[in-house]
Structure formats: structure tokens, C-alpha cells
């Protein structure tokens, strides 16, 4: 990493530390009840006291999130490909998908419990449903963003439909697909938590809901902290995969033309 990157990390770390200390100090100084806002030290103590228990629930939420997201990628990209390849499907399915996207998915969550029971399936389904729209819409956008002269070139080279799709449209769509996936991974986490809120005995969503029942505010904060870390790590992992998969795109962002 370059010196500038390290400086950026340092600035972020220091500002977070300052905020946490301020929080600790203000809560003590203003005598805020721990049930309203526990000090960060209490949250960390709570987290440390039952760390394996927290990790177990976090693991469950992570699996549901990644599972729902993975399903959304496979189905979403597949749908986008058939939509772009068929004018009929674009008029029917795509219009339907864009319309459905405006329905608040959270409102349908209880339906999935009725349909799929109280196991992991309804949570996966909700994470999937919330995440899939961003992927379909951005992938369709990407597949259609191929410049006209590159399509002409492919035709002049007598490229088959499959070659045009896999060697021209698909790589051209990748940056847009990654943009969609970055939105979708955060949405999948939201979906997993919503699913656990609606009915669950496991996961961080369940931890939050049950702690709320006993007014254990420190426990709620501990779970929220884990969720925040999980969200950031998932996003960072995708960004890393993106840089690996699109070296040409990264090179465009980082270096200026050398000649």
C-alpha cells in the first residue's frame, strides 16, 4: 500500500477513536441511563463476556446473507441475459420486475414465513428477493451499454450470438454488474435481518429482537456493532474481488495513460 493509503486509514482510525471516547465521556458526564444509551465500554464488555455465543449468531446471519446474495447473483444475471437476448421477455418480464421493485419487499416478509416455515428458507428467500432487483437492473444496463461500433465490429467478424454475448456483452457489463452487486450485498444483509425479525431463534436479528424484550440495550448495541462490521467486510470483500476480476478497470482508475 502507498503512504497515502496508510494516512487515510490512520485518519479514519483516529476519528473513530475520538468519537468513541466522546461517547464514553458524555454518557458518564451526563448520567445517561445504560438502558437508554450504554457506554461503549459496557457494549464491549457485553460482547466479550459471551463472545462465542455472539459469533454463533453472527455466523448464521452471515450464511443467510451470503446465501441469499449468491442466489440473487445467479438468478439475477440469468434473468438479465434472457431479458437482453429476447425483445419479448424484455417487454414482459423486465417491465414486471421494474414494477415489482417498487413494492416494499419487507412488507411481504411474513408471507414467506407462511409459505416456507420458520427455518432458514424464508430468511434466504427474503435476502434473495431484496437483493435480486439491483442485480437484474444493473446487469441489463451493463449488457446494453456496449458501444454501437463494438457491436458492428462483432457483426463484421461474423460472431455467433453466443460469442457476442460471452466475449463482448458480458465483459462489457462487468463493471455495471459489480456496481449492482455492491448495492445488493448490503440489501441482502438487510433482508437477512428482516427475516430473523419476523421469525427466528437464531441470528443477530433474533439477538436484537430478544434483547429488546428484556431491555438489554448493551446487547442490542453489541449485535448492531457486529452487523456493521459484517456489512463493511462483505463490501470490502466484493471490492477486492472486483479489483481482481477487472484489472483493466482498476488500471483505468489508478493510472493515467503512460503516453
Amino acid at each position: 500500500m502507498k503512504t497515502r493509503d496508510w494516512q487515510g486509514i490512520l485518519v479514519t482510525a483516529v476519528s473513530i477513536a475520538v468519537l468513541v471516547l466522546l461517547w464514553e465521556f458524555l454518557v458518564a458526564w451526563m448520567h445517561v441511563k445504560p438502558i437508554i444509551l450504554p457506554p461503549p465500554s459496557a457494549v464491549l464488555r457485553e460482547l466479550a463476556s459471551e463472545f462465542p455465543w455472539y459469533m454463533g449468531h453472527a455466523w448464521y446471519t452471515l450464511l443467510v446473507t451470503v446465501g441469499g446474495f449468491g442466489l440473487a447473483v445467479v438468478v439475477g444475471v440469468g434473468l438479465a441475459v434472457v431479458i437482453v437476448e429476447s425483445a419479448l421477455l424484455e417487454k414482459t418480464i423486465y417491465t414486471l420486475i421494474v414494477g415489482l421493485n417498487s413494492v416494499p419487499k419487507v412488507a411481504i416478509a411474513p408471507l414467506f414465513v407462511i409459505w416456507l416455515g420458520t427455518g432458514a428458507e424464508p430468511k434466504l428467500a427474503i435476502a434473495f428477493l431484496i437483493a435480486v432487483f439491483a442485480i437484474v437492473i444493473d446487469t441489463v444496463l451493463g449488457l446494453k451499454s456496449v458501444p454501437a461500433d463494438i457491436l458492428d465490429l462483432g457483426r463484421a467478424l461474423r460472431g455467433s450470438r453466443a460469442k457476442m454475448l460471452w466475449r463482448i456483452r458480458f465483459p462489457c457489463a462487468l463493471p455495471s454488474m459489480f456496481a449492482g452487486m455492491k448495492v445488493a450485498i448490503s440489501l441482502a444483509l438487510v433482508g437477512a435481518i428482516v427475516g430473523e425479525f419476523v421469525s427466528s431463534q437464531r441470528g443477530l436479528g433474533y439477538v436484537i429482537l430478544s434483547a429488546q424484550g428484556t431491555f438489554d440495550t448493551a446487547r442490542v448495541f453489541a449485535a448492531v456493532l457486529l452487523l456493521a462490521i459484517m456489512g463493511m467486510l462483505l463490501f470490502a470483500a466484493l471490492a477486492r474481488i472486483e479489483r481482481w476480476a477487472l484489472p483493466w478497470h482498476a488500471s483505468q482508475q489508478e493510472h493515467r495513460p503512460s503516453a
Binding site: 462483432g154 457483426r155 463484421a156 483505468q252
Partner: protein, 262 residues
């Protein structure tokens, strides 16, 4: 360095192209015979249908009436062994320079190893040796267009179509690429159909300059350029070159495209 394909002749026979939706006649009864191995510039103002003609030859567009044949075969789809270069280089940003050059082989088939060797020697001819692994975003506009030209030549086409390939480049780079294109052409002797709106570029490169009149596009004049090759940039200030340019400029003035006294 050519490995075998013979240059193709082109016969354009009373080709008309009407865009019915827009109510535009882009080409009206255009006829032209191009010999195998000939370099023909199509010169005309913007919107005169010269690109439409090139797209029809490439099989990317279909004439409303009339017939185009390449190497004796009527064009109904993109012909085999065709190289094409557009105004914007149409490089695939996600592929390295060498992988961009391999696209025609992947699409049309052929000997991959031989093509790779030919790709390297073409890049060397345009001064891009050592750039094989770079991505297009790391190249300048002139270098990108050089790569696009090499890509069009990599599987030894019978015919090279160029649609204002240097239109987006600065004047110096443009001159340099004119020289390099001449060198490539002298080495390969492909049939070239070169669309441009620059008088000096058209004359400098071509055996024949076909001057188009504005919409509906039709051939106003065909000028044989009798200047020996290899031509140096300095020929552009010579008497003969001046004679050709003046003749073309007079044609454009007659069409009302150039007016010195308003």
C-alpha cells in the same frame, strides 16, 4: 508477410439506400469498380452517405436497391476475410493489446499460434513492440488507433474498410498514421476503401479519390492520383498534389460547400 489471401475486388452496381423512416436518401445510384489491391479514398462532406456505402460493403447495412459484390460474391452478410476500422477505435477495454488483436481469430477461427506471431510483427511495424500486455486505457489515442488497424489486418483480410479512422486524432498524429498506413499498405497490398473528409489525407493515401456530392450521396468525380510511392509528407506541398487538391476544392465550391465570399 502476407500468408495467402488474395486481395478482393469490389463491384458496386447502382446502389441506392433510402432510410424510409427518416425520409432520407443517403445514396442514389452509386456505381464503382475497385480493383484488387487498390487503395480508394471516398471523400465527401459530412452526411453525404460515404459511411453508409462502406457499411453496405461490410454487410452491416443493406442497399434498398442495387448490388454490391466482393470478390465476385454478392454481399448479403458481412463477407469473409474482411478487416474494418472505425473512427473510434472500438477496442475492448477489458483485453490487453495482444488479446484485442486475437479477437478476429476467436470469432472467425484460424491458426492461433500463427496469428499471435503475425500480431506481434504487425505491432512492431507500427512501433508498438513491448505494448502487447498493456490495456487500451493505458494508451494514447494514436496508439489505440494503431492497435485497431493491426487488429483489422491480423487474420490477413482480402479487404480493409476504414471509416474516418483518423478523424478523431490531432493533426500531427494523423500525419504520422498516414505514413504508417501507407507503409502497411505497401507491405500488404490489401484492397482498401478509406472514407474521409480530409482532402489532403484522401489524395496522399489513394490510387483513386472518389468525390461524393452531398445528400443524396452520389459520385461527383473520380480522380486518379498519379504520384509515385512511397510518398513523403512533403509531396503535399508539391505541384501535382496541389493540382489534385485544387480540383477537388473547386468541385466542393461548385456544390456550394465552400464559400470564400459570403
Amino acid at each position: 508477410m502476407s500468408v495467402g489471401h488474395e486481395a478482393a475486388g469490389i463491384r458496386i452496381d447502382r446502389v441506392t439506400r433510402v432510410f424510409a423512416d427518416a425520409g432520407i436518401t443517403a445514396l442514389a445510384e452509386v456505381s464503382l469498380d475497385i480493383r484488387p489491391g487498390e487503395f480508394v479514398s471516398i471523400l465527401g462532406p459530412s452526411g453525404c452517405g460515404k459511411s453508409t456505402l462502406l457499411r453496405c460493403v461490410a454487410g452491416l447495412d443493406t442497399p434498398s436497391s442495387g448490388v454490391i459484390s466482393v470478390a465476385g460474391v454478392p454481399v448479403t452478410a458481412p463477407p469473409e476475410h474482411l478487416g474494418i476500422v472505425f473512427q473510434r477505435d472500438a477496442l475492448l477495454e477489458w483485453r490487453s493489446v495482444l488479446d484485442n488483436l486475437m479477437l478476429p481469430i476467436e470469432f472467425r477461427g484460424g491458426d492461433v499460434a500463427a496469428a499471435r506471431g503475425r500480431a506481434r510483427s504487425l505491432l512492431k511495424m507500427v512501433g508498438l513492440e513491448g505494448f502487447e500486455g498493456r490495456y487500451p486505457a493505458q494508451l494514447s489515442g494514436g496508439m489505440r488507433q494503431r492497435v485497431a488497424i493491426c487488429r483489422a489486418l491480423v487474420d490477413d483480410p482480402k479487404l480493409l474498410l476504414m471509416d474516418e479512422p483518423f478523424g478523431a486524432l490531432d493533426a500531427l498524429t494523423r500525419d504520422q498514421l498516414n505514413i504508417e498506413l501507407q507503409r502497411l499498405w505497401l507491405a500488404e497490398h490489401k484492397t482498401v476503401l478509406f472514407v474521409t473528409h480530409s482532402i489532403s489525407e484522401a489524395v496522399f493515401l489513394a490510387d483513386r479519390v472518389v468525390v461524393f456530392s452531398p445528400r443524396p450521396g452520389s459520385i461527383a468525380d473520380v480522380i486518379e492520383v498519379d504520384i509515385p510511392r512511397p510518398r513523403r509528407l512533403a509531396v503535399r506541398t508539391g505541384e501535382r498534389f496541389h493540382g489534385y487538391s485544387t480540383r477537388i476544392r473547386t468541385l466542393f465550391e461548385g456544390m456550394g460547400l465552400l464559400k470564400e465570399d459570403a
